[in-house]
Amino acid sequence: MLIDGSTRVLIQGITGRLAQSEMRRMLEYGTKVVAGVVPGRRGAEVAGVPVYDTVGEAVDCHAPDASCLYVPAPAIREAATEAIDAGIRLLMIPTERVPLHDICEILERAGEAGAKVLGPNSQGMVVPGRARLGGAGGDFAFEVFRPGPVGVISRSGGMGVEICHLLTKAGIGQSTYVSIGSEILQGLSFADLLVMFEEDGATEVTVLFGEIGTSYEEDAAEVITSRRITKPVVVYVAGQYMEELPSGLRFGHSGAIIEGNRGKPSTKMEAFRAGGALVASTPEEIPTLVNEALFRRLPRAD
């Protein structure tokens, strides 16, 4: 879903340290990285990939479908606007600490252009055995991910990989893994992706890793409750014990905060249960619940 082995990938900020190590991993995984952009570095090559001054030039020569933006926070608004204006329709933004006004501007421009945004603070995505954007799974991607019927969406990059690994160890493969970030404002959300997984032929069950803070889980529960999707959903919501701490504390991710009554894991889990999702009490329970859901979907032998 979203990408496959034929997706042509552009890397903005290709000469940076993180960009280079993640690009190496994308190439190792068989992803088609076709070009890079760094203003003032036209004509250079990084690991055999040609570098251009502007996204426009790179688009003219290589027609990329997606861009990974390894660009520092103060420059991300300009870089993303450039990609959107040049016609790129999938942007992966791993950058953290982006000013919220800039995120909002990027999302509004992307929305008007019909472009999809992963992140900010996304660790990218993986279609096991086909392609990955970003370096999720590090050097162990072949061991962690394995093709199969489960879509995985996570607000946390680390836990997303952890959950795919747990599934793989239990003999359950993944259709697509997506790291969406955990910011106050973000591009593709749980709700958007649940609908996309519903339409994705390769997916039978979707797993969500949610967190304390924001209303993204409640929005996702609403998609399930309203029967906009029919495929089973398994969820884990982290931060359950954070409710014992004073509200207003922010836990790592910019969106991981309880404000008043908003953002409580207990409320989120309740909303999921009410909608009929299977709620895991620890991550290790996820493969068991996924197996249950898969079993229920098996066609009956008549």
Partner: protein, 384 residues
Amino acid sequence: MPVPSGSVARNPAEASRIAADLGVPVVVKALVPASRRGKAGGVLFAEEPQEAGRRAEHLLGRDLLGHQVRAVLVEERVGALQELFFSVAFDGKARRPVILASGQGGVDVESHVQQGGMRCLVSSVLSGPNANDLKVLWHSEGVLPSLLDETVAVSLKAWEVFRRYDLLLLEANPILVTRTGRVIVAAAIMQADEEALYRQPRLQPLVDRGADRRLGPLTERERLVAEADRADPYRGAAKFIELRGGDTAFLVSGGGGSLTCYDLLRRFGARPANYMDLSPGFSREKLAALTQAALTVPGVRGALVGGAIKSNMAVDLFIEVLIEVMNELGLDPERFPVVARVAGVGEARALALAAGVPGLEAYGRDTSLEDACRRLADRLFPRT
């Protein structure tokens, strides 16, 4: 924006003098960075200068909404025909700034919000709210037609402030509509975006960084980490929050992995004494500051290190720095149990380093977070 005339006093005599200069009944407001000051008793009225002094005396030095009152604002009391509420903040579902407005502002606006009595206007962040939409909105909230233009002008000004200063929230309440046809912002709350402070020189000295938490002033250890973080702003973000009554140093990084480990430790009976976060690209100094801070929180008797599988930060440095800091502090892992779950990049080296230190238990990606947390709890609370 149009505001009541007045100025800031740091002692009662100053407050009386300001009131005398104004020559009208005044309001004395405690200057603390919190909302709901009126409800909390931080906004008082005075008819004449002596009374203003007494009000200031009453407020100064007091603890209000978690902050000590060090100054008060003495300003003219403006009689109002109507009190308005106007706020701008971001909405995650709309992915846009959303304006909330009401013709019934003032101290009781909260209950009004809960009754759903707010007008809501989703705006374009790029082009801002439409003046005509605001006019219709304020008209429906009972603002007199003759004052609509002025009210819209003040609203647009508030929007401009929201945008220019990169605010997460701007809340003007109350905006007073006076008998003489003036529209005056009598109080406002601004919430700054720490991530945008680098380009907001006017806000920098006003914002207590690292304090995106409401537990009062930073502790010594929290300040240490905040300083290390600020010294090198683009090499990873280090955050450290001390929690009360904990027994476990929590050296776990990665937002979701940390939340999960926190839950698991609590499930098994241990209690983290801190919360932390460290993002990729971090410097060794930041990690050392965090390690030192976590291991020295009073009451700590063991540590959990590492977290979920790391794809883009090396875990071996966690073990290297941990061993170094434990040596410096004279902590012996045989008596101060440490369990590390170091998975992902640098895993093999991390495990090899830990193997050389008796009592330092380290596990890789094949051991689950759950098993690692259970193991630490077992060592902290051995069954007799």
